[in-house]
């Protein structure tokens, strides 16, 4: 992995902007992968958080690219606030589910289907 990154760094025309973009995408993939594959409710929240980190990165990158970093910053602050509230709500629901089922198992959530 390091090798991969290292080779990218040395390529001409590849500033850290492109690196940020690629790492942002990779982190979104990692987050989505986490949400899809895990069996643990809280891990889903972690996956969501990781994806949101990547989105934050992309927004800051966008501000950088168009030179409007101040606006991007204000976006990021708002996103962080929302992100936290969503995380709290998700954790609250997960804990409530834990109280019902006695586990954080996602496979409990099969009552609603069809």
């Amino acid at each position: 992995m390091w090798f991969c990154l290292g080779s990218v760094i040395n390529l001409p025309g590849f500033g850290w902007e492109i690196m940020m973009l690629i790492i942002g995408f990779l982190l979104i993939i990692a987050g989505a992968y986490c949400i899809i594959r895990t069996y643990h409710l809280l891990k889903i929240i972690i996956g969501m958080e990781i994806a949101m980190k990547a989105v934050t990165l992309l927004i800051i990158l966008a501000g950088l690219v168009n030179g409007n970093l101040a606006l991007a910053q204000s976006f990021v602050i708002t996103i962080i606030v929302i992100e936290v509230v969503v995380a709290v709500v998700a954790a609250g629901i997960a804990v409530s589910l834990y109280k019902k089922y006695g586990s954080m198992e996602i496979r409990n959530l099969r009552k609603l289907k069809g």
């Binding site: 989505a32 949400i35 899809i36 594959r37 889903i44 996602i106 496979r107 959530l109 099969r110 009552k111 609603l112 289907k113 069809g114």
Partner: protein, 620 residues
């Protein structure tokens, strides 16, 4: 009353009035269907008002009015001029008599209100069709008559609507042809207005349009090949229906349109191929109809076949495209309406008294029903073409035209006249002459009521009057309406024709006596024709319905419907089984796939996003 005067004072309003009045009266009659007296008064008074209106329109100068309505430039174009005013008047007069007869005839029956309702709606439609100056509007009214016809035939036979369906199919086919013809005509002429179409030449597509329109019009009049519902209607429809529709009103309407097609819309040249075709149709109708009439043993059925046969004369006359032929055809139509209605009425009176019209069950009514017998005799003489009754003069005119066009058709028409005379001799003798014979259960009978006798008498006397004073109808009515300057009234011009006609009548008498001698009964007087070599086959075939176009249609439809059933089965299999299975099966699969797992939800969403991406890539 003020309203009525106001309505009548303005000619344009009168046009509306002619259509609205019968419709409103029809509804009123239906509302008062429980009460005989108001119904009678309403029917007679409104029929008279209708006649007065028609007469006043006849007196007025010809004029046209258009009432535009609707968004698409549709307009209700009406036009009154001499010819249509004449027919309007004739219709109104016929309707007055017919409605009087009907309302009296049906006074004890439950269905009287409904029947009269249909009658008046039909009158509204007929008036509309006669008045309309727009082919499309006319077609609307024309189809309206089909609807009321169907309704009337259904009245007594709601559970076995065979006749009604038969009438609907045949008349519907005729109307379909008419519609097709109208479409072709309008396209060819570039305008849907009667008054703007100038005698189109009959070539190419126009010929098809002409033929379709004429077949449709003749079909409404009851000519071949759309006739076969009339005899079966004679069996199960109320007699007033037979008097009104196959007897008078439909003939008027059908012949009106036929004449207009031949004289106004299309340029039918005497001696042309199309003219010959129309004449052939007329001759075939004459012979076919009368030949079937010859062997009928039921009065109404017999008269029905005559009703068909008589249309043939009119078509023959019109088909010659000669002024004398058209005049003869029109005059014959008028005469036929008079004597055929009267004949149906006598049949109805007999039915009312004896309970049957089967000639095998009664006979010798002359003593008990002298007035009916007198009416019948006058009309029978008229239809057989005995001078000086009206039928004689109109037939002579048609013969004249046919001889001028083609001798073959003349001979055919003569054959028809011969058979007509024979069949009426038979019917008259069986029904009225000889000893009284009553059907089972009847002890005595009386003369029929005044309400029925009045229209019968008027009509019967008209037969004689119109024959003697034929100048008036021929010159004043039809001649001037058609713009014919030559004088055809008075005694026939050609002595030869008269001699031949009289010879034919004499031959008929001889044949009748021969038949009576041979079989020993007047009823079977005509049966030797039935048993003549070769003819028997044809008759048997005809009795089995081989010449019945309805049957052809039905068997053709049978093959078609078998084919349709085959397709239908596949289609219904598809709908009932395959499609349902596929849909429900897909639903089941989807439901199984949706197992509540969050991973699958997310996976589906990501796949969806990928799908949107694919759409974008494809569009790039």
């Amino acid at each position: 009353m003020n309203l009525l005067i106001a309505l009548l004072s303005e000619g344009a309003n009168l046009l509306w009035f002619m259509i609205v009045l019968p419709a409103v009266v029809g509804i009123l009659v239906w509302i008062f269907r429980e009460y005989h007296l108001p119904r009678l008064l309403l029917v007679v008074s409104s029929a008279m008002i209708n006649l007065v209106c028609a007469l006043s329109l006849d007196q007025a100068e010809g004029f046209a009015r258009s009432f535009s309505f609707g968004p698409c430039g549709l307009e209700l174009a009406f036009r009154i001029y001499e010819f249509s005013a004449l027919f309007l008047t004739l219709t109104a007069a016929a309707f007055l008599l017919v409605s009087l007869y009907s309302v009296v005839f049906l006074q004890d029956q439950k269905s009287a209100g409904l029947f009269m309702f249909y009658m008046f709606i039909s009158l509204a439609m007929i008036n509309g069709a006669l008045l309309s100056d727009n082919l499309g509007v006319m077609l609307f009214f024309w189809e309206g008559i089909l609807c009321t016809l169907f309704g009337m035939l259904l009245i007594n036979n709601l559970h076995q609507p065979k006749t009604a369906v038969r009438a609907l199919v045949l008349s519907g086919t005729a109307d379909l042809l008419l519609m097709l013809g109208i479409i072709i005509t309008v396209v060819q002429a570039g305008t849907p207005k009667f008054s703007e179409i100038q005698r189109l030449p009959i070539t190419g597509v126009s010929a098809v349009g002409f033929l379709c329109m004429l077949l449709g019009a003749v079909g409404k009049a009851g000519g071949m090949p759309f006739h076969s519902w009339i005899p079966s209607a004679a069996e199960d429809a109320p007699t007033p229906f037979m008097v009104a529709f196959p007897g008078a009103l439909e003939k008027l309407l059908g012949i009106y349109l036929s004449v207009r097609i031949v004289t106004d819309l299309y340029d039918l040249q005497p001696g042309s191929g199309m003219s010959t075709a129309v004449m052939l149709l007329g001759t075939l109708t004459i012979i076919g109809g009368v030949a079937m009439a010859l062997i009928q043993k039921d009065m109404k059925r017999l008269l029905s076949y005559h009703a068909i046969s008589q249309v043939g004369y009119m078509v023959l006359g019109i088909g010659t495209a000669l002024p004398v032929g058209i005049l003869g055809g029109l005059f014959h139509m008028l005469n036929n309406a008079i004597y055929k209605s009267c004949l149906y009425m006598t049949a109805g009176s007999i039915e009312k008294q004896t309970g049957t019209t089967d000639l095998r069950e009664f006979g010798g009514l002359a003593k008990r029903m002298p007035l009916t017998t007198a009416c019948f005799t006058l009309c029978a003489l008229a239809i057989a073409g005995v001078p000086p009754f009206n039928g004689f003069f109109s037939k002579e005119l048609v013969f004249d035209a046919a001889l001028e066009s083609n001798t073959l058709f003349y001979l055919g028409a003569l054959l028809g006249a011969f058979m007509t005379a024979v069949s009426f001799l038979k019917m008259g003798r069986v029904a009225f002459a000889g000893e009284l014979k009553l059907p089972m259960g009847k002890k005595t009978i009386r003369e029929t009521s005044f309400g029925l006798l009045l229209p019968m008498g008027v009509l019967a006397i008209l037969c004689l009057v119109l024959g003697v004073v034929n100048t008036w109808p021929l010159d004043q009515l039809f001649g001037s309406a058609l713009g014919i300057t030559e004088v055809y009234s008075g005694w026939p011009h050609s002595t030869m024709l008269v001699v031949v006609s009289l010879a034919v009548l004499a031959l008929a008498l001889v044949d009748h006596i021969y038949g009576c001698k041979k079989t020993g009964s007047a009823l079977q007087a005509a049966d030797h024709i039935y048993y003549a070599a070769g003819l028997k086959r044809i008759y048997q075939a005809a009795e089995q319905g081989w010449f019945d176009p309805y049957r052809w249609l039905v068997s053709l439809a049978g093959v078609f419907s078998d084919f349709c059933v085959l397709i239908e089965r596949q289609v219904s299999w598809f709908y009932d089984t395959a499609a349902v299975k596929v849909l429900l099966g897909t639903g089941d699969r989807l439901q199984q796939a949706n197992d509540g797992s969050l991973s699958r939800y997310l996976g589906a969403a990501l796949l969806g996003a990928a799908g949107v991406a694919v759409i974008f890539i494809v569009m790039l």
